[in-house]
């Protein structure tokens, strides 16, 4: 085939009882991202541009757990991770623990293409971002009401548990991407 693209918006326990209106929003989000990738590849664009643009679209969609719409940490903030890899050169870039970069995958691509390194974390990743032109936002930008309520329920459940061991077990039971 001349070109091909696939994308995902997370996996886990997804209730089939979702209201039709909610299902429609998810399908529309997937279709929108797929269209972005199609336009890049159909016009002869690179696979790297396609995957970055598609992931940017999903990061900007509050339905998905990345960028705007990211889940809350135990501290009630948002910490974002991303990576990108070019199969033709084995070049790779990755960032973790970002708090103010609007589209983490774009910073990962800059790390890959413009630095001598592969992986920046936390404060260092934010400092590296300061040296680039990536768009920055307040951490609150990533906040969505749905994720906030999900986090509040998690906090309530966690505080209801009596020992550290049972709290850890509860967290393990809820690990999904």
């Amino acid at each position: 085939k001349e070109w091909a693209i696939a994308l995902h918006g997370g996996a886990g326990t997804i209730s089939q009882d979702l209201p039709d209106s909610v299902k429609a929003r998810y399908y529309a989000g997937l279709e929108e991202a797929l269209r972005v990738g199609e336009l890049v590849l159909r016009d002869g664009g690179t696979a790297l541009d396609a995957v970055e643009n598609v992931v940017n679209t999903l990061e900007d969609n509050p339905l998905f757990n990345a960028g705007r719409g990211a889940v809350f940490t135990a501290e009630g903030r948002h910490e974002l991770d991303a990576a990108i890899m070019d199969g033709s050169t084995l070049a790779a870039g990755a960032v973790t623990g970002l708090t103010t970069v609007k589209n983490p995958v774009s910073l990962a691509r800059i790390v890959m293409q413009e630095s001598r390194h592969i992986f920046f974390s936390g404060v260092g990743a934010e400092e590296y971002a300061d040296q680039t032109s990536v768009e920055r936002v307040d951490n609150d930008y990533f906040h969505t009401q749905n994720r906030y309520e999900q986090w509040q329920r998690s906090q309530e459940q966690a505080s209801a548990e009596s020992t550290p061991m049972t709290m850890e077990k509860w967290i393990e039971d809820s690990k999904f991407g």
């Binding site: 085939k1 696939a6 996996a11 690179t46 790297l48 396609a50 598609v54």
Partner: protein, 131 residues
């Protein structure tokens, strides 16, 4: 978590993944997404992006294992991804999307669902959430 994999008209493969992690994650916890070879990997054989239980995906170096399985055993992308999903990981652990150098696409998971979509130059289009 979100991700994308692509093959372009010059035969180049690429993979990208981005995530907010897991709800209520502890200070400094990092999952598979930014770990090259675990949640994100691309070479001349295949491009793969993962989503799911990060620790399990990391323990199995999952994305790289799919590409290596293809390269070292001659298996197809579908077969290699199925090997990781069914023989390396446990039910409920993860989902993957992948594309190989011929433009074959595979999207598999052992979770109840995975938001996913794909398209190729021949017009084969998929948009799915559940099995």
């Amino acid at each position: 978590t979100v991700g994308a994999v692509a093959l372009d008209s010059e035969g180049r493969l690429a993979a990208a993944t981005s995530t907010g992690g897991m709800t209520n994650k502890q200070f400094g916890r990092v999952g598979d997404v930014p770990i090259i070879g675990s949640g994100t990997f691309a070479n001349h054989v295949a491009a793969v992006s993962a989503t799911g239980w990060g620790e399990q995906i990391m323990r199995n170096v999952s994305a790289n294992t799919i590409a290596n399985h293809m390269e070292f055993t001659g298996s197809s992308l579908e077969e290699a991804m199925n090997f990781v999903v069914t023989e390396r990981l446990n039910p409920g652990d993860a989902g993957f999307i992948g594309v190989d150098s011929l433009g074959n696409i595979s999207m598999q998971m052992n979770t109840a669902g995975m938001f996913r979509a794909s398209l190729d130059a021949d017009g084969n289009r998929t948009v799915m959430i559940w099995q």
